[in-house]
Subunit: 347 residues, 2 copies
């Protein structure tokens, strides 16, 4: 992007990026449920639950609106184990999609889904365990096969980058529930009106569900959606086994499914996904997911939809991990997204 803003104060210093000019920023909770304990609240016994309420399962959003924003805001939704940070500063300290798309004059809404991060007040009791699991994630996120990095991977190799990457996770404070999280995001779209939804990984499945629930979702850009692809009743493909798990489509009535045919959908998958089955769980899980994504694309498009699946290496873009939006080439990825939104008249 060329310079978008014209701020005199910054003009003298040519070494710094242009400042962000933000008309409005803030945060709020939206959606969720409330319970009340039986009995009457006694202010002299405040530690007793009687008569007290509990609000939870809401979504938390931090938004920024640039001066003269484009017509549709972008809602950015994290994946499993992640939170809004996915879209903020990258692990190696560069600008993420939050800043990149603000510079391109989109309003941004970064969310923590219900039961995650700043939306941690869950309606369901949960035990959070410090289980060592980071080498699993290193592999699952296709940075490499621990302790080796993939040749040419778009991921900085300094120890501090890996430290930031691992610390960009935060636990669920309640069970993952497709309906609870998509209800939260749908409530957000009710509040903000028409917009574009970016999803990542586990957010992919409930992202499709959000579009089914809410016509204010005008487009979806999904980075490596996980296993929960949504098909019409009777058209769910055979499950695809992998060395990690079995990828299985979800079935909904045709009238619900048809919502997915009415919006443009762009899906990205990165590099180091094998073509054929392998006994390495991390790689094989993505082989199966990409295969299911293509089957899903074909079914949606057969019913009049507009789904594009981009396997980045096929268009000559190599080395991307599970996090193309924060990889070393994330500006190039953002350019692909911008071009798509322009082509679809969504900017």
């Amino acid at each position: 992007m060329a310079a978008v803003f014209n701020v005199e104060a910054a003009a003298a210093d040519t070494n710094k990026p242009e400042p962000l000019v933000i008309q409005e920023q803030g945060s709020f909770a939206v959606g969720g449920k409330e319970t009340i304990a039986p009995g009457t609240f006694n202010p002299r016994k405040p530690m007793e639950a009687a008569g007290q309420t509990y609000n939870g399962d809401h979504l938390y959003a931090f938004f920024q609106i640039p001066v003269n924003p484009r017509k549709y805001p972008i809602v950015m939704w994290h994946g499993a184990g992640q939170f809004s940070k996915s879209w903020e500063t990258t692990a190696d300290g560069r600008e993420g999609f939050q800043n990149i798309f603000l510079r391109r004059k989109f309003s941004t809404y970064l969310i923590d889904q219900p039961r995650r991060g700043n939306a941690g007040r869950s309606m369901v009791e949960t035990t959070v365990k410090p289980t060592p699991d980071e080498q699993m994630w290193f592999n699952q996120f296709r940075v490499g096969i621990w302790p080796m990095y993939f040749d040419g991977v778009q991921f900085d190799r300094s120890p501090e980058t890996l430290n930031q990457f691992f610390r960009s996770m935060t636990p669920s404070t309640g069970p993952f529930d497709m309906n609870v999280v998509s209800d939260g995001v749908s409530a957000l779209f009710d509040k903000i009106g028409p917009g574009i939804l970016f999803t990542h990984s586990q957010g992919g499945g409930p992202g499709w569900l959000t579009a089914i629930k809410n016509p204010s979702v005008k487009a979806i850009v999904s980075f490596e959606p996980g296993s929960s692809f949504i098909f019409p009743d009777g058209e769910v493909p055979a499950p695809i086994p992998s060395a990690f798990d079995t990828v299985q489509g979800i079935s909904v009535p045709m009238e619900q499914f048809m919502a997915l045919t009415r919006i443009p959908i762009l899906v990205f998958y990165g590099d180091n996904i094998p073509d054929k089955p392998t006994d390495m769980p991390a790689q094989d899980s993505w082989r199966a997911r990409l295969e299911m994504a293509r089957k899903w694309r074909d079914v949606v498009n057969k019913h009049g939809g507009d789904v594009t699946v981009v396997h980045l290496p096929e268009i000559g873009i190599k080395g991307n991990t599970h996090f193309a939006f924060s990889d070393l080439n994330n500006v190039q990825i953002a350019d692909l997204v911008s071009k798509y939104l322009a082509d679809k008249h969504l900017d």
Copy 2:
């Protein structure tokens, strides 16, 4: 504040506040610990902990640096049950201290302490329970005595404000530990250098500890610090019982304590704190805390310190809750803070 920024793009629209002009913004983790499970990681058995690492107990910070910032950034630290949202949009939708102090050209660092919100990856297993407790908080935060609001309270009475207020809480994902959280904030000051620390409530006690640990804490503005006031060995006052709990000073060696005498410290308490003991736990807890705060002020100042305790009703400012920085008169409170920082040559 008069207009600070001069942005042509906004000049035409006089109905909106001035845009925020942000030179840089982003987020990172800092501090924390790492463990490794015994054994060797097997990529074919990724769900087994053997040989895997776990990083946790770090702090999460979201920062914004305005164009031409003042010399010291402000670190804003939440209280019990709260997270960085304390300083963002108020429950009734106005600007909080994040935006107010950005407009006054301070860099801001909003944090989630280790084991809270976006810094949820705790080193200690914890069960998070959805316990109905909001009427307790309504009282403890001195909005009123449920379901009545205090006369003249600086808190909007619409149902949606209360909804946002209750949903601005998020659970701890590990036990509260003064040392763990102050280590996190001290690591932040190591990274960013000299700055001003704002604390709230339970953040007050570990805030004093952070200043003891790290000379880069150049001043503290503390909103209603809780019970953990730090005294030198042999000078801890008698515990102060209340209808809620007993407020007890913490003892440290004199050489550690002396760090608190070397920086200016401003402490605020709001309204509806009784002068004399009462059987209402919420009110009485603050009566005891304010009493201990004054004893602590006297000890710090006796040793050459510079602590000011402002009980807001005494200077004619009425109706403040436990959250003066987000109350209806929060710009007036910010003005008091700005004047203090100017008087102490900290701006």
